[in-house]
Every structure is written in structure tokens, then in C-alpha cells.
Subunit: 445 residues, 2 copies
């Protein structure tokens, strides 16, 4: 077995999973994380504190033997629970199959587990408070500064994996190489997190446990995901500027009025609403695209390659799928890693674009349409088709969340299905019309 030396920049979800994969494969792995070890920290703050893992993420976790461990601490969400302004609840299951659900898990908990699991391999070293300051793609080198001592060190090997997130330092260096396409674009909306505590000392849930809760309100919305401890993490997705925006809603009285007007059923569940809202700074929502994902001996995975907005619940799932595909290609081409990473870039770049587009489209769908009767009818119709035409019709949401079909294939197949359904409906209408005419002429003659 040929062992290789790999440098991983970033110890977040994708970086830690990649370290676990490569550790299992027997490679010499050095992982460098800018921040301190989150396993030492008391509370992880800032980024959203729970997220939804679905089939793609679980497939990768299964390959490294961690699927069941993760699911033990997850809360299944079997559908969307829509909250109307008048408090009416409408439950919309994700699938006709109750096993097809998404799982709410703690981001911090999963990150800690992956780091611990990666660190168990003697061939994996984890380094914290090491900020990447430079990359040499041709030499396969990355350079780090120690955030405590200021010492500069380098790590050289067969591969540098940039897993350092949406504002990746590794990618920033690749961006300066010739013919590297790059874009970052922000939504007009931002987000801010609030908290629903457990209903009782015993830990009961204050709302339906097994659902992703949505308060769709047209130009703004709020969602809530359950945590295992009976709490919910609430996220407001509102415009950053202009009418009904975070920028305008800054005075306590106005904020209180606004929540009462639009989210009356949630207000009594969020005791620290005012203090949490006032002290929080809304975060922005960025989509990052890069091309290629491999330059010299450097390759990008996860948010560093494709930061996406969170509205399809696929950010981490797509990142874990990157790790799975990259690991497969590296293992399948042990003698030819440059070929492996070039193939990875060619294969995965269109998938990153596809899920980025879907996530943006789903923002508008969740915000604008998810509560409309037409949308609910369409979803019901999709589910009927899925039931009547098993194997022939699968809703896009199911292909994205409950399969490992490449995102771009799912999008193409969904378009074909929609065309076929439109033709079918037109045919059905013609048939009805013919029947009507036939009946008419029979009756009148």
C-alpha cells in the first residue's frame, strides 16, 4: 500500500470527515484549524447550531462507520409544519415513505465527534489555532501561522485539501492563479437565531417534535428545527434592508409589535426573544462558486468549493458527498492522484452549481409559496404521482434529500418528469373532451 502525505486546511465538518476518511485509508494526515479545538469550548456560537442531515450525508458517514452513532442523537423531521398567521398548522410530509425523513443534528456535536474519530488514527495529527497564510499549489505546500505564538510553519505533501469554509484562505490563494473562475454573491436577506426552550423541566417539546417548522410570510420567514434536548433553534430569514428588514427593525417596541403581528403563536414560546434579537447581529447569506476545484496539488471540498444558502438543507450533505467522491477517486487512483483530483473537479463542479441554484430557488419557494394552497396541492399531486408511478416519477425534493443521485441528474430528471406530466395532463384533457363530444353526439342524435 502506498501511503501518501496529506495536509487538510480546516477542521470543520468537511475537513474532519476528510481526515477520518484518509486516516482509515492509512495516509499520513495533518489537519490545521484556525480556531481553537471546539471540543475544549463550552458553547459553540455564531454559526447555526443545528442542521439537517439527509441521505447524502448519511451515506458518507456510513462509509466511515459513524452513521448510527450520529442518528442516535438526531431528531427525525418527517415533514414541514406550516404555521399560518392565525395559528393554523398544516403538516406536509416529505415523502410517502415515513422512513424518508431528514434528521436534525447539532452542528457542534457532529463536528466534535468527527474530530475525535479522526484523531483516533495514529496517522492523523490535529493542529489548532493555526491559520493558513499561503499555499503553493505546485509544491503541495501550505503555510501556517500559530495564532498564539506567531510562529510560521509549513506542511508539504502529496495533496493539500482546502476545507476551510465559505471564506476559504486556500481558495483565496487559488483565486490569484491564472484562469481561476470565482464568484461570491449575497442574498438581500440575512438571518438571526432565536431559541425556544424545552416546554417543561422534563424536557417536553413546546411544538411538534418531528417536523421542520416554517412560518412563511411572503418577503420574510422564520423556521425552527428541533434539538434532542427538547429545545428548538429558531432562525429568522428577513431582508437586511428596506421594509420589514433587520436594518429597520431595531427598536424594542417595534420588534415586539412585529413578532406579535406576524408570528403570534411563536412569541410565547421564545422567552428571551427581545434580548436575543437586540443583542444579535444578523448574518449575511453568501453563495460561492469556484472553478476548477483542483489546482496543482490543491483541491477544495465543502463550503470552500461551494458555499450555498441553507434553504435546501444540503450544505453539509453536499460537503460530505464531496468527501465521499474525492476519497473514492483517491483510493481508485492511488498511483495517480493528479488524475484523481482533476476527475473530482470535473465531476463535482457541476454538482456544486446545481445545488447552489436549487438552494437559492428554494429560498423563494419556502418564503413565497410554501404556505399557498396551490403549492400544497402541487406537493400532494407530486406525492400521488410518486405513489401511482413508482420508479417513474420521483419528486425533486426526494431525489435531492433521499438519494445519492447527482444533483444535476436530479434536476434534469425533474424537468423531464414535469414535461411528461404536462403532456399527460394535456392528453387527459383531450381524452375528456373527446368523451364529452362523443357522449354529446350520442345523446343528441
Amino acid at each position: 500500500m502506498i501511503e501518501k502525505k496529506v495536509t487538510i486546511v480546516g477542521g470543520g465538518l468537511a475537513g474532519a470527515l476528510m481526515a477520518k476518511y484518509l486516516g482509515l485509508a492509512g495516509h499520513k494526515v495533518s489537519l490545521f484549524e484556525r480556531r481553537g479545538d471546539i471540543r475544549d469550548a463550552t458553547v459553540v456560537r455564531g454559526r447555526s447550531i443545528n442542521l439537517a442531515v439527509s441521505t447524502r450525508g448519511l451515506t458518507a458517514l456510513n462509509e466511515v462507520g459513524l452513521r448510527d452513532r450520529v442518528l442516535e442523537e438526531a431528531v427525525p423531521m418527517r415533514g414541514r409544519m406550516m404555521h399560518a398567521v392565525d395559528g393554523t398548522l398544516t403538516f406536509q410530509p416529505y415523502s410517502k415513505d415515513p422512513d424518508e425523513c431528514i434528521q436534525s443534528i447539532s452542528r457542534g456535536g457532529l463536528n466534535q465527534l468527527l474530530l475525535t474519530e479522526a484523531g483516533k488514527h495514529d496517522n492523523v495529527d490535529l493542529h489548532f489555532e493555526k491559520r493558513c497564510i499561503d499555499v503553493d499549489p505546485d509544491a503541495g505546500k501550505a503555510f501556517f501561522i500559530d495564532e498564539r505564538t506567531g510562529d510560521v510553519s509549513e506542511s508539504e505533501g502529496d495533496l493539500v485539501i482546502g476545507a476551510d469554509g465559505a471564506f476559504s484562505a486556500v481558495r483565496a490563494h487559488l483565486q490569484r492563479t491564472d484562469r481561476f473562475d470565482y464568484s461570491q454573491s449575497y442574498l438581500d436577506a440575512g438571518y438571526l437565531e432565536l431559541h425556544i426552550p424545552a416546554a417543561a423541566a422534563g424536557g417536553g417539546f413546546a411544538m411538534e417534535k418531528n417536523a421542520l417548522h416554517i412560518w412563511p410570510r411572503g418577503k420574510f420567514m422564520m423556521i425552527a428545527l428541533p434539538n434532542e434536548d427538547g429545545t428548538f433553534t429558531v432562525t429568522c430569514f428577513w431582508p437586511l434592508d428596506g421594509e420589514s428588514s433587520f436594518g429597520r427593525l431595531t427598536k424594542e417596541a417595534e420588534v415586539a409589535e412585529y413578532f406579535k403581528l406576524w408570528f403570534p403563536d411563536a412569541v410565547p414560546l421564545i422567552p428571551d426573544l427581545m434580548s436575543d434579537y437586540i443583542k444579535a447581529k444578523p448574518s449575511s447569506l453568501v453563495t460561492v462558486r469556484a472553478k476548477p476545484w483542483a489546482v496543482g496539488k490543491v483541491v477544495l471540498v465543502g463550503d470552500a468549493a461551494h458555499a450555498i444558502v441553507p434553504f435546501y438543507g444540503q450544505g453539509m450533505n453536499a460537503g460530505f458527498e464531496d468527501c465521499r467522491i474525492l476519497n473514492g477517486l483517491l483510493e481508485g487512483n492511488r498511483q495517480h492522484w493528479p488524475v484523481a483530483i482533476a476527475n473530482y473537479s470535473a465531476a463535482r463542479k457541476p454538482e456544486g452549481d446545481a445545488i447552489a441554484d436549487l438552494a437559492i430557488a428554494n429560498f423563494y419557494e419556502m418564503r413565497d409559496h410554501v404556505g399557498s394552497p396551490y403549492f400544497l396541492l402541487k406537493k400532494k399531486f407530486e406525492k400521488l404521482l410518486h405513489k401511482w408511478l413508482p420508479g417513474l416519477y420521483t419528486p425533486l425534493y426526494s431525489m435531492v434529500s433521499f438519494s445519492n443521485t447527482p444533483y444535476s441528474d436530479a434536476v434534469e430528471r425533474s424537468k423531464r418528469q414535469d414535461r411528461a406530466v404536462a403532456i399527460g395532463l394535456a392528453g387527459f384533457a383531450v381524452l375528456l373532451l373527446s368523451l364529452f363530444i362523443t357522449l354529446g353526439s350520442l345523446l343528441w342524435n
Copy 2:
């Protein structure tokens, strides 16, 4: 008069013109250029050594009193001269009005003139070999390192103007601020420059002097612009990889064969073809978009705000228009520069996008269609309409090159015109058909 203190980063075309504008307005200007003073250098190499100035550029030059000085050394190009493979020449004038032409000028010469003119003002300081290493948008500060001594200095004032080109250091810092949209994307084609010397010792031109020469060949093309000294600068725009690409054509014999096959009439005019081709490294073609163009006390002009591909001959013209508009807004809002630069960003960003799109579209038009009979017919028809319907129909090329109409308005107007012409033609066809039917019934009855 309120004098302000302005830092300009970059002493290229846009930076030097901006210094001249602000120098005339009486502001205290410090300009910092990364490279040495091009007025000391013997030969300017690297960037294309001539470019086409048209109405927008001349309008700005006129405002600073330099239009006539620049035109003295320019070569008017009154149309496109198409070179077919068999050597057939077809001349296509840019306008029905012979005064509407584009002017070929030396990039280096113009840059030197603008620096000298800016430096004539006591209130303008020019600093060379000073590389921008950081920007503080809120404080209006820029930081520089002296490329010779390594000393770091700062410049603080009311405004920092980033005029430091496609790979702007100023913009790279803005890119890290929240909600800054940015993209860079490369064409698959690159370029390489060759040289046609004067035909005779007397300085005669080896081809028609007053034309932009084009050898359109489908997936690749070559162009040549005249210089005042009787020479032509030739630029090959070819794919960087794949068939018939710079990447493949590296062996001397193959290159010679290729030129003989596709550009036979040009080969005898380029004596150093082989040596120039072999020693040159093809350059890539990037389009850069940014948003906003103003952050805090920092504002972007020229390529730093909107690097575009060269196929509409508008890169410098758009940059000079930025300077003209920015200067007008600063002068009109002497008490409120933050308002002025916010208005500049809002007004100019769509124009940068419009000309970026046009330039990319024109690459495909020049490469693929410019030699086709259909294209020539269309251009002739456009010119007839322009003549028949003065003030009502103006070809897009004329609006872009021979007016100061905002690019986005030109694009919109062109679309409206095209629709009107299509409707007119359809009406004409109906009229013809009616006439034919009427005539027919008269004759047959």
C-alpha cells in the same frame, strides 16, 4: 472652495486621468503606482500596445483639455477590413458618417501624457514603486509598501480611488467586506501579440492604414490595429486549449503551417512571426464584476471595477467615462462625497455589466459571424435604416462607440429597434401578399 484630500491607487490610464480631473478641481491628490514610472522606461511591454479610443473616451479627454493632443497622434480607423482566407478584402465602414470612426492610439503614449499632465498640478503628487498592501474603507486610509526600500507608509484622506486594474489590490480588500458581490470569469480564448513593421523606410503602411483589420476564422481570429509610425500591432485570439489552440500549437513547423493555412496574406507581413510567437506566453482574458463600487470612503474606477474583454474596444472608454461621471458627481456634491460615491456606484454598476456583456457577445460575433454574407447584409440593412430613419434608428455599435448614451440604455434601445424592424418587416410582407392577392384577383377576373 472646499479642498479635499484624495488617494489614488494605480497610475494606469484611469488613475492618471482621475488625478488630472481632481488636480484641475483643486483637490490634494496623492497617486501611488506599483510599477516604476513608465515615462522612464524604454519600452512598455506586456499589455496590448495600442487601443481604440472612441466618443466616450474623447468626451472625458475633452473635459480635461487633452482631446486634440491625443487625436494628433491617433490613426483613425473608419471601418473593419475583413481578410478572407483566399486574400479577398471586404471593407465595412463603422458608420454612414465618415467622421464617426474609432482612433488607434498608443496605450503607453497616452498613459505617459496623462501622468505628465496630472503631475503639472502643484496639488498632485505622483509616487511610483509603491504597492498597496491594505485599505481601511471607514478611515479612508490606504497603506503602501515601497518596492525598493520595503518601507510601509499610509495615505489618509476623504477618498481612496481604486484605479489599480483588473487584479486590483484595493478591490481584493473590499471583497472581504460583508455583502460585497464579486466575480471573475475567464474566456476559453487567450491572446498573443505579433508585429507588422512599416512597409518601407519612409514609413508606409503595409496594409490599408485607416481600418481595423480582422481575419475571422470561426473558432479563432486575428486582428491588427495601425500605429502612427506605419506599423501594425497584430493580436491572435485563439483557444487556450484543445484543437487549434495556443496549448497545442507550440512546435515551430506546425505554427508556420497553421499561419500559412489560415492567414496566408498576413504571413509575409510579419517577418518575426516565428520568434515572436514562440517566445511569447499567451495571456488570458478575464471579465471582472464587483458590487458595490463604493464601500466606506473607497471607490473603484476602470478595470478595477469592471475588467472586460477587449472585443468592443470599450475597456478604456468605459474607464474614462467612469472618471468623467465620478468627477461630475464629486463636483456636484462637494459637501457630500459619501452621497456622490454611492450615487456613482448605483449609476455606473449597471453600465459596467452592460458593456461587459456586450464585449463578450462581440467576441463571438467577431470570431464567428463577422465574415459571413448574412452578417454583412445585416450591417448594410442597419446602415440603410439609420440613413432612412435618422434619429429613429441607430445601430447598437454606433450608440456604443459614437455617443455618450449609457450602455444599458443603448442595449435597451437596440432591442426596441429590433422589435420595431421585425414588426415593420412583417407588415411589409403582409402588404406585399395583399397586393399580390389583389393583383391576382384583378388579372384572373
